[in-house]
């Protein structure tokens, strides 16, 4: 049996790593502040548009006659997609619920049901929220393209590049998802055609598996970038800063 490369290395000195409470504390602060900012947008902001730049928190603008606060109309699906995401679940259980706070750190809570009861059993619906998140992503790509059209002409502003980076990062996060990895090929038992060649599902699964290794990184970066994009557009809307036009 082959030995893994990791096991050939001398054991890492654990005392040099960060204290166990650092990661859960960061999670609570980051997700908590993001949650508060989102609530502020939902209840106190009705728009997120500056000329051809549209905040990702307010896209799509079309509500097809459904009467609901603009941000709520958009945000429920990405938020549920993230809340049920396998990566965020780990962070939420560790940071907010201390189930456990870190590995081999004793838990104080006595009753534990895991994901067998409501509301946590609903995390099994993750793939459904993925489907909706993909629809929202289509609108965000349309917005990103429109961010390069100034009065009917192609142009590039700093905001255009920010919106493009934002939608690329969101796409990386969405398509590196564990549920998508399963749906695209992980659910198969065989990866080889009758003629010995790899199946298309195998190739796709292999590619998504490689992306999936960085799913957590994409989760954080895309979340912070959505936040940054909205702040940038909001500062433009209030005239605090001016957009840089490259051409």
């Amino acid at each position: 049996m082959a030995q893994t490369a990791e096991s050939l290395q001398p054991a890492k000195r654990k005392s040099h790593s960060l204290p166990y409470w650092v990661e859960p504390t960061f999670t609570v602060l980051a997700l908590g502040l993001f949650g508060l900012y989102t609530l502020w947008l939902v209840f106190f902001q009705s728009s997120g548009q500056f000329h051809n730049y549209l905040s990702p928190f307010f896209s799509p603008t079309e509500s097809w006659g459904i009467k609901v606060l603009p941000a709520i109309w958009v945000l429920w699906s990405p938020l549920l997609f993230r809340a049920t995401c396998y990566y965020y679940r780990k962070e939420i259980y560790r940071g907010f619920l201390h189930d456990p706070m870190s590995c081999a750190v004793p838990e104080k809570r006595k009753h534990y049901f895991g994901e067998t009861r409501f509301p946590f059993s609903w995390t099994n619906l993750h793939r459904w929220f993925w489907y909706v998140a993909v629809i929202v992503l289509v609108f965000l790509w349309i917005d990103a393209v429109q961010a390069f059209i100034f009065n009917g002409h192609f142009g590039v502003g700093l905001g255009s590049l920010i919106m493009l980076a934002n939608v690329i990062l969101l796409s990386a996060y969405t398509f590196s998802c564990h549920a998508f990895r399963h749906l695209i090929g992980g659910g198969s038992q065989k990866f080889t055609c009758a003629d010995g060649r790899p199946t298309t599902r195998y190739k796709l699964w292999n590619r998504i598996s490689a992306w999936n290794e960085n799913h957590g990184t994409y989760a954080w970066i895309s979340m912070f970038f959505v936040w940054f994009t909205d702040v940038y557009i909001r500062l433009l809307m209030h005239g605090v800063i001016h957009d840089v036009r490259f051409f």
């Binding site: 096991s7 456990p100 081999a104 004793p106 659910g187 038992q189 010995g196």
Partner: protein, 242 residues
């Protein structure tokens, strides 16, 4: 003169016990298991420690070293220069004596997993790409560090509701086999209790074989359970496809 290191080793049995300190001269390349052997040879011949290969292959010498869950034979003492090395038995399993714990529950559960049910009779030829996935799981050396760190078993003693990461990997190995025809989803969701896992990934962190237990084993199994119990539309599509 070699520098002395101090080990504080748990001595006791199921009735209780406490840590006892021993001084050991440090040697180049020494691992904690070497130090325990020195203690056995010079200070405490009755010190109980389970070991076999001393090469991270047999999975016998699992223990807790300064709060980290490790193999004694893979943990170098020079990682702890200037510190006392506290060595304790695995917390999740009943202590038999000193560092030896009773891990038989794991084997009892393994026997309850329905065995491989091939679609055709052996011998058969398989493509490497079809078995790459399950070969990762077959690297398991059954050290049970993942079972030890799993908070469902460790903190909540829920052995009656969840069989633990090692068993999930056994399920994954069978379910993902290209020729297996068995259906273990009901068992997986029911008695084996995959829903009890909240994917906090500690099992992956401690695995000395580097098996990606959560991402490659447990999460794909959770998705297979979701296929059956949470996705009627997907189930319909699969039936039509068949």
């Amino acid at each position: 003169m070699p520098e002395d290191i101090t080990l504080s080793v748990f001595r006791g049995d199921k009735g209780g016990g406490d840590e006892v300190e021993y001084k050991v001269p440090m040697q180049t390349g020494m691992v904690v298991l070497d130090a325990l052997h020195f203690i056995q040879a010079h200070d405490a011949p009755d010190l109980a420690v389970r070991w076999n290969c001393k090469a991270a292959h047999c999975g016998s010498c699992s223990a807790e070293i300064n709060g980290s869950l490790k193999l004694l034979c893979k943990t170098r003492v020079d990682d702890y220069v200037g510190e006392v090395i506290h060595v304790r038995p695995m917390h999740t399993f009943p202590v038999i004596k000193d560092l030896v714990t009773d891990v038989s529950w794991n084997y009892d559960m393994l026997r309850q997993v329905p065995a491989f049910q091939p679609a055709i009779k052996a011998p058969f030829t398989l493509q490497q790409r079809d078995v790459d996935r399950i070969q990762e799981f077959r690297n398991c050396i059954e050290c049970f560090l993942c079972q030890n760190v799993c908070h469902v078993l460790r903190d909540h003693s829920a052995q009656d509701r969840y069989w633990g990461p090692r068993l999930m990997i056994r399920f994954a190995e069978l379910e993902m086999h290209p020729l297996d025809t068995g259906d273990r989803m009901e068992l997986l969701k029911g008695a084996a209790g995959i829903g009890m896992c909240n994917i906090t990934k500690c099992c992956t962190v401690v695995c000395p074989q580097g098996i990606n237990i959560t991402d490659n084993g447990i999460i794909p199994l959770k998705e297979r359970v979701a296929d059956v119990y949470w996705d009627p539309l997907g189930g319909l599509v699969r039936k039509m496809h068949k």
